[in-house]
C-alpha cells in the first residue's frame, strides 16, 4: 500500500477488457424478444415531403411495425436545444424526431421499420415510397446567411439561428491607430468524429411499471435521462439510462438524437425491447459533426509586433437543426477565448450561427477552442511576417506574464493560473528551435521547402461554475457529485455522475482515492454510466471529468478521512485533535504503534459495535462539487514539415508538445491524451474534411474518402509537460483531454505556411491536401 500511486503512470485498468474484446457495448446487450429498428433516411438535403406510403413495408417478412412522422407527431416532443445563448436572438425551430413535412439534410429520418432482424428491417425500408419535392440547397454557412439563400426554416430569416457579439476595449480605435494590420479568411472544415463505436440505443419499456430503460451510447447519461423525459413524456424518475461501455465520443455522443427517441417510441408502442445501432455509413450522415467555420479575421499590431486588437466575423454552420449544445460551441467556448495566452487589449467578434443543409454540428473535441486558437495563431504568424520578426519571439513579447491566481482578459473571463512563457521556452528548447531554424536555412539554400510552426495556446475547460452556466444560457448545471462507500473488508466503491468512455478515469479516480485515503488502488472500484446506480452529474466532455468529478471525489474522500479520524480517536481513546494521519493509518500523535488503519475503520464503522455518541454507522460520504472557476490549461507546440513542391505532399517530420495541465494524476494517461489529441488536430490541417457537394450530398461518405490520420503518416510525438497548479482546484488539476487538438491544427498549418513562404504562397485552405498546395505553389510561380 502506498499513497504514491497518485501521480504515477500506472497502467489503465480499463485496457485489458477493451483490448481483448471483452467489453460490453450497447449493441452487445441482448434482451429476450428484442426487435430491431432500421430508419429510412432522406436522400435529399432539402425537400418537402409530399407523401409517405409505408404500406408496402408492412407486409414484408419479419416486419412488426412501420412508423412515420404522422405516428410520432404529437406523441414525441421535438428534440430540444439545451444551450440558449442570451441576447443572441436565438431561434429554435422545431426538430421532430421523424420529419413529417420537410427534410433538411441527407439522413434526416423519414420512417422507421421494426422487424425481427435488422436485415429484415433494412430490406423492408426499400418498400417505403416517399414523394419528395426537392428544394434548393445551401451548404456554405456564409452563403446560407446571405439574402436570397434557400431558407431551411420558416421564421428564421437568412437562416441565422443566432447572432452573438463580443466586445472588449475599443477595437475600432485600435485598428485606426495600428501601424500593422493583417487579415485572412480561415475555413475550418466540417469534421466527422469517427468514434470506434458507432451510436446505438436499446429501449425497454415496461408497461407494468411505467418505466423506460434506455441503454445508450452517451457521454452524459443523466442529461440523456432528462432529455428522454422531455421528448417522451415519461417522468424523469421512471427513466433509467445506462451507458455501458462507450467506445469513444469526441463530443458526438453528447447530444440527444432522434434515433434514441425513435427507438424509445417503438418500444413504448410495441411493449418489447427495440434496438437500433448505427451503421458506419449512417454515422457519417447523421451523427453530429464538428467545426464548419468561416472566419474573417483581422489583427492590429504595432510596428514592433505588439498586438493591439483582434476583430472577427464568424459564420458557424449549424446543419439542418440546432443540436443539443450547438449554440454554445462557436460562442461561449470560442469567442471568450479570443485573447488566448496573449495580452490583447481590444477584442471584438460577431458570430452568426447559420442553418445549412448538412448534418447538425455540435461539440467536437476542443469544441470552439480549436477554432479560436486557429484564427489567433494564424494572425500572430501573419503579424510576425509583416513586421519581419521570428514568430516565436512575437509570441513571447505578447504573452501574458506569469500569474498564479487570476488574470482578467478583454473577453471578460478570468484565467486561473498561467506561465505561458515557460511553456514556450520549454517547447522551443525541446524542439531545438534555434538549430531547427539553422537547418531550415540550410535546406532552403538547397532548394528544399522545410517549415517550422509554433503555437501557444490556452484553453478553457473544467466546465464549469453552474452560476456561469446559467448566465450563458446552458440549460443545466455543470457541477459533479460523487459517493465513496467503504465496505467492511476495506474495499470501496466510488460512484460518479460523470461518464468516462475511454479517457481512463476508472484508473485516475481510483488513484485519487488511493492518494487521499492510503488504500490500495486495486481496492477501489469506480462505478459510472448508470442513472440508477450513480449520483447525478452532467457528464464527460470539455476536459471536465477529472477536473470537476475528480474534485467531487476528493472532497468526498476528505469527508471520509475526517469521519475516520473521529472514529479512530474514539477507538484509540484519544482526542480527535491528537490523531495524526499518514499513508492510510490514523495514530495517536507521538505513538505511531497505537493506530487504526483505514481498513480497521471501515470494518468498525460498518459493524458499528462501538461508535462514538452521535456518529452514524457506515463509512460513506458524498460530495457535490461546483467549481468556483473554469480551469485554463495551456502550452506550446512546435511542428516541422517538409513540402514536396513537385506534388504538394506534406511530410510531417517532427511534432513537439509541451502542455501544462496543472497537477498530473497519471502522467502516462496525460501523455496518451496528448498523443490522441495532437493527431486529431493534425487531421483537419492535412487530411480531414467532410465535403458536401452543391446538392448537399456527402461526398466523403466513408473511410475510403474521408482521410483520418494514420500512424504511418505521423512522426513520433515528442511529449513533455510543465505543471502550474490550478489555484482553485482541490488537487490543482486542470484537464488535458482536448489540449492536443486545440494546439496542433495551427501548429501544423503554420509550419506548412512557413515552408511555402519563400515560394510566395501566402494562404491555402485546410485541409492542406496535396493538390491544393500544388496549385498554390503553381499560382504563386505564375505571379499569383
Amino acid at each position: 500500500m502506498t499513497t504514491r500511486i497518485f501521480g504515477s503512470g500506472i497502467r489503465r485498468r480499463e485496457d485489458p477488457r477493451l483490448i481483448t474484446g471483452r467489453a460490453s457495448y450497447t449493441d452487445d446487450i441482448k434482451l429476450p424478444g428484442t426487435l430491431h429498428a432500421a430508419i429510412l433516411r432522406s436522400p435529399y438535403a432539402h425537400a418537402n415531403i409530399k407523401a409517405v406510403d409505408a404500406s408496402g413495408a408492412a407486409g414484408q417478412p419479419g416486419v412488426v411495425a412501420v412508423y412515420t412522422g404522422e405516428d410520432t407527431d404529437g406523441v414525441l416532443n421535438g428534440l430540444p436545444c439545451a444551450w440558449l445563448i442570451p441576447g443572441s436572438d436565438l431561434k429554435t425551430p422545431a426538430h421532430p424526431a421523424i420529419a413529417k413535412d420537410k427534410v433538411r439534410y441527407v439522413g434526416d429520418a423519414v420512417a422507421v421499420v421494426v422487424a425481427e432482424s435488422r436485415y429484415q428491417a433494412e430490406d423492408a425500408l426499400e418498400h417505403i415510397a416517399v414523394d419528395y419535392e426537392p428544394l434548393d440547397v445551401v451548404v456554405s454557412p456564409k452563403a446560407a446567411a446571405q439574402d436570397g439563400a434557400p431558407q431551411l426554416h420558416e421564421d428564421v430569416p437568412n437562416n441565422i439561428a443566432f447572432t452573438w457579439a463580443l466586445a472588449g476595449g475599443d477595437t475600432d480605435a485600435a485598428f485606426a491607430d495600428a501601424a500593422v494590420t493583417v487579415s485572412d479568411t480561415i475555413t475550418l472544415p466540417r469534421l466527422i468524429a469517427n468514434p470506434m463505436e458507432p451510436r446505438s440505443a436499446l429501449a425497454q419499456w415496461s408497461a407494468a411499471s411505467g418505466e423506460l430503460t434506455l441503454w445508450n451510447t452517451t457521454q452524459n447519461p443523466h442529461i440523456a435521462r432528462f432529455v428522454t423525459c422531455v421528448v417522451t413524456g415519461v417522468p424523469e424518475h421512471k427513466i433509467r439510462v445506462i451507458a455501458p461501455e462507450v467506445g469513444g465520443g469526441f463530443g458526438s455522443k453528447i447530444p440527444f438524437y432522434a434515433d434514441e427517441a425513435i427507438t424509445a417510441f417503438c418500444s413504448m408502442k410495441l411493449g418489447v425491447p427495440v434496438k437500433w445501432t448505427e451503421t458506419r455509413s449512417e454515422n457519417y450522415l447523421i451523427t453530429t459533426q464538428g467545426r464548419d467555420h468561416i472566419e474573417e479575421v483581422e489583427m492590429a499590431a504595432t510596428s514592433d509586433g505588439v498586438i493591439t486588437g483582434l476583430r472577427t466575423t464568424v459564420y458557424a454552420g449549424m446543419g439542418g437543426y440546432l443540436s443539443t449544445a450547438a449554440p454554445g460551441v462557436p460562442t461561449i467556448l470560442h469567442g471568450l477565448m479570443y485573447s488566448g495566452p496573449y495580452n490583447i487589449p481590444n477584442i471584438s467578434g460577431t458570430v452568426y450561427g447559420v442553418f445549412n443543409n448538412g448534418a447538425p454540428v455540435d461539440a467536437y473535441r476542443g469544441a470552439g477552442r480549436p477554432e479560436a486558437t486557429m484564427l489567433l495563431e494564424r494572425m500572430v504568424d501573419l503579424v510576425a511576417a509583416a513586421v519581419g520578426q521570428d514568430p516565436a519571439e512575437v509570441r513571447r513579447k505578447n504573452l501574458i506574464p506569469k500569474f498564479e491566481n487570476g488574470h482578467d482578459v478583454a473577453t471578460g473571463i478570468t484565467y486561473d493560473s498561467g506561465d505561458y512563457e515557460s511553456a514556450l521556452d520549454s517547447c522551443l528548447s525541446a524542439a531545438g528551435y534555434e538549430a531547427l531554424r539553422a537547418e531550415q536555412a540550410q535546406a532552403r539554400a538547397e532548394g528544399r521547402c522545410v517549415g517550422v510552426g509554433v503555437s501557444s495556446y490556452v484553453e478553457i475547460c473544467g466546465l464549469g461554475p453552474s452560476q456561469v452556466a446559467g448566465a450563458v444560457g446552458f440549460q443545466g448545471g455543470l457541477w459533479e457529485s460523487a459517493i465513496i462507500r467503504f465496505y467492511p473488508t476495506g474495499k470501496a466503491n466510488v460512484m460518479v455522475g460523470s461518464s468516462p468512455h475511454g479517457q481512463g478515469e476508472e484508473t485516475t479516480f481510483a488513484q485519487i482515492v488511493a492518494g487521499e485515503l492510503g488504500v490500495d488502488v486495486d481496492d477501489v472500484e469506480v462505478i459510472h454510466g448508470d442513472t440508477d446506480t450513480t449520483p447525478m452529474g452532467w457528464g464527460t466532455y470539455g476536459s471536465r471529468t477529472t477536473a470537476v468529478s475528480g474534485a467531487a471525489i476528493t472532497v468526498a474522500a476528505r469527508k471520509i478521512k475526517e469521519k475516520s479520524r473521529a472514529l479512530a480517536a474514539h477507538l484509540l481513546e484519544a482526542a480527535p485533535e491528537d490523531i495524526e494521519y499518514e499513508d492510510g493509518r490514523f495514530y495517536v500523535r507521538g505513538s505511531p504503534d497505537q493506530h487504526k488503519t483505514i481498513q480497521d475503520i471501515a470494518l468498525m464503522a460498518n459493524v458499528a459495535w462501538n461508535m462514538p455518541e452521535g456518529m452514524e454507522p457506515g463509512l460513506e460520504a458524498s460530495a457535490f462539487y461546483d467549481p468556483p472557476n473554469f480551469t485554463y490549461p495551456f502550452g506550446a507546440h512546435v511542428a516541422v514539415v517538409e513540402v514536396d513542391p513537385e506534388t504538394g505532399h506534406i511530410d510531417l517530420q517532427r511534432y513537439v508538445a509541451v502542455d501544462d495541465c496543472g497537477v498530473q494524476i497519471n502522467p502516462m494517461i496525460v501523455e496518451g491524451q496528448v498523443h490522441g489529441g495532437v493527431v486529431q488536430g493534425v487531421g483537419p490541417a492535412l487530411w480531414e474534411g467532410a465535403v458536401y457537394d452543391d446538392d448537399g450530398q456527402l461526398v466523403t461518405g466513408s473511410m475510403l474518402d474521408y482521410a483520418l490520420p494514420r500512424a504511418d503518416l505521423l512522426p513520433d510525438i515528442e511529449v513533455s509537460s510543465n505543471s502550474t497548479p490550478s489555484p482553485h482546484h482541490p488537487l490543482g488539476v486542470k484537464g488535458i483531454g482536448e489540449a492536443g487538438t486545440i494546439a496542433s491544427t495551427p501548429t501544423v498549418y503554420n509550419a506548412v505556411m512557413d515552408a511555402l513562404r519563400p515560394l510566395g504562397v501566402t494562404r491555402v485552405d485546410m485541409p492542406l491536401t496535396p493538390e491544393k498546395v500544388w496549385r498554390a505553389i503553381n499560382d504563386a510561380r505564375n505571379g499569383g
Binding site: 433494412e122 506534388t647 505532399h649 487530411w687 466523403t700 474518402d705 496535396p770 500544388w774
Partner: protein
C-alpha cells in the same frame, strides 16, 4: 452495412464455378471479398447469387513456368509480396503487392479479384500491364488467354464473359539486366493509387534497349505510356533523358480522365509525369 438477400454457392472446382455462373444469371464470383462485399454492404451491388471460389486449391499459389511464373488467381497480395519466385522473376510485382491497402487487405485480397474488379486505382493491373502479363481464363467455351492490357475494358469493367473465371496470370520474367519499379501516390484514406507508375527498363551497352511504362489511376483503365517508351529507347537513361521521357507522358493520356474531390483530373495528369519520372529513376538505377 446490411447486404440484401443472396443465394450462396461454394464451387469445389473451376468447372463447377463455370457451371454455376452459366446457370445463374447475374451471379458474381466471390474470392477474397475485399472489393465485392463492401459494395454489397452499401447495397451498391446486390447480386442474387454468389459463387464462392475461395476454396479452390488449384487457383492458389505461384509456380515457375517456362520463361516466367504463373500466379493462381486466388493468390493473396501478401503471398505475392513475400514470394521468392515473384521477387526473382518480377520483383516489381512484389514491390507493388506490398503497397496494396493495408495488412488486412493484403492478407485477404487476391490478385485475381483485384484485376477482375478492374478498378483503375488498383496497383496490380498497372504493374501486370507493364510486365506484359497474360490472364488465363476458363469458361463454357473452353480456355483462352487475354493480354493484361486488354483485360480492363472500362471503369470496373473487364473482358470476361458472363460464365468465365479468371484462373491464373502468366508473368514473363523481367529480362536480366533490366530494372523495374512501381511508384505510387496513395490516397490518404483508401490507399488506392491516385497515381501509380510502373516502369521496366532494359539496358544494353549503356543505352536503353527497351522500356515498358504504364500509368494507373489517371484514366479509367491502365494507360500505356508509348511516348515515354519511345523517348527512352536508345537513350542513356541519364537525368536529362529521363526528364524528357517522363514529360512526354501527357501525350499518352488521351483516354477517359478520372478526377474526384481529392485529386482533379488535371492534377492527376500533372502527377502522372512526376510519378513516371520517379519510377523511371528507380527502374534505371536498378538496371544493368
Amino acid at each position: 452495412m446490411f447486404p440484401a438477400q443472396i443465394t450462396y454457392h461454394r464451387a469445389g472446382s473451376v468447372a463447377e464455378a463455370v457451371q454455376l455462373l452459366s446457370s445463374n444469371e447475374g451471379a458474381k464470383l466471390l474470392a477474397g471479398g475485399h472489393s465485392l462485399l463492401p459494395l454489397m454492404k452499401l447495397r451498391l451491388a446486390a447480386p442474387a447469387v454468389l459463387v464462392d471460389i475461395g476454396r479452390i486449391e488449384a487457383l492458389k499459389g505461384v509456380s515457375a513456368s517456362g520463361g516466367g511464373i504463373t500466379i493462381g488467381a486466388l493468390t493473396t497480395h501478401a503471398e505475392i509480396a513475400s514470394s521468392d519466385l515473384v521477387k526473382q522473376h518480377a520483383p516489381v510485382l512484389a514491390e507493388a503487392a506490398a503497397l496494396v491497402g493495408d495488412p488486412a487487405v493484403r492478407n485477404r485480397g487476391t490478385i485475381g479479384g483485384s484485376v477482375s474488379h478492374a478498378d483503375p486505382a488498383s496497383d496490380q493491373p498497372t504493374v501486370l500491364t507493364a510486365l506484359g502479363a497474360t490472364f488465363n481464363v476458363t469458361g463454357q467455351g473452353g480456355d483462352r488467354s487475354i493480354a493484361a492490357g486488354d483485360f480492363a475494358t472500362g471503369l470496373l469493367e473487364n473482358a470476361l464473359e458472363e460464365n468465365e473465371v479468371l484462373t491464373s496470370i502468366s508473368v514473363p520474367s523481367v529480362p536480366s539486366g533490366a530494372g523495374s519499379a512501381y511508384v505510387k501516390f496513395p490516397h490518404p484514406a483508401s490507399r488506392y493509387a491516385v497515381v501509380g507508375a510502373a516502369a521496366v527498363v532494359a539496358v544494353s551497352g549503356g543505352t536503353c534497349s527497351s522500356a515498358s511504362v504504364v500509368v494507373g489511376g489517371v484514366e479509367t483503365t491502365p494507360a500505356r505510356a508509348s511516348s515515354v517508351e519511345a523517348a527512352l529507347a536508345g537513350s542513356d537513361l541519364g537525368d536529362a533523358a529521363l526528364d524528357a521521357a517522363a514529360a512526354a507522358v501527357g501525350g499518352d493520356l488521351n483516354g477517359d480522365p478520372m478526377g474526384d474531390v481529392f485529386a482533379s483530373a488535371e492534377y492527376r495528369r500533372a502527377m502522372a509525369a512526376v510519378y513516371v519520372r520517379r519510377a523511371l529513376g528507380a527502374a534505371a538505377s536498378r538496371a544493368g
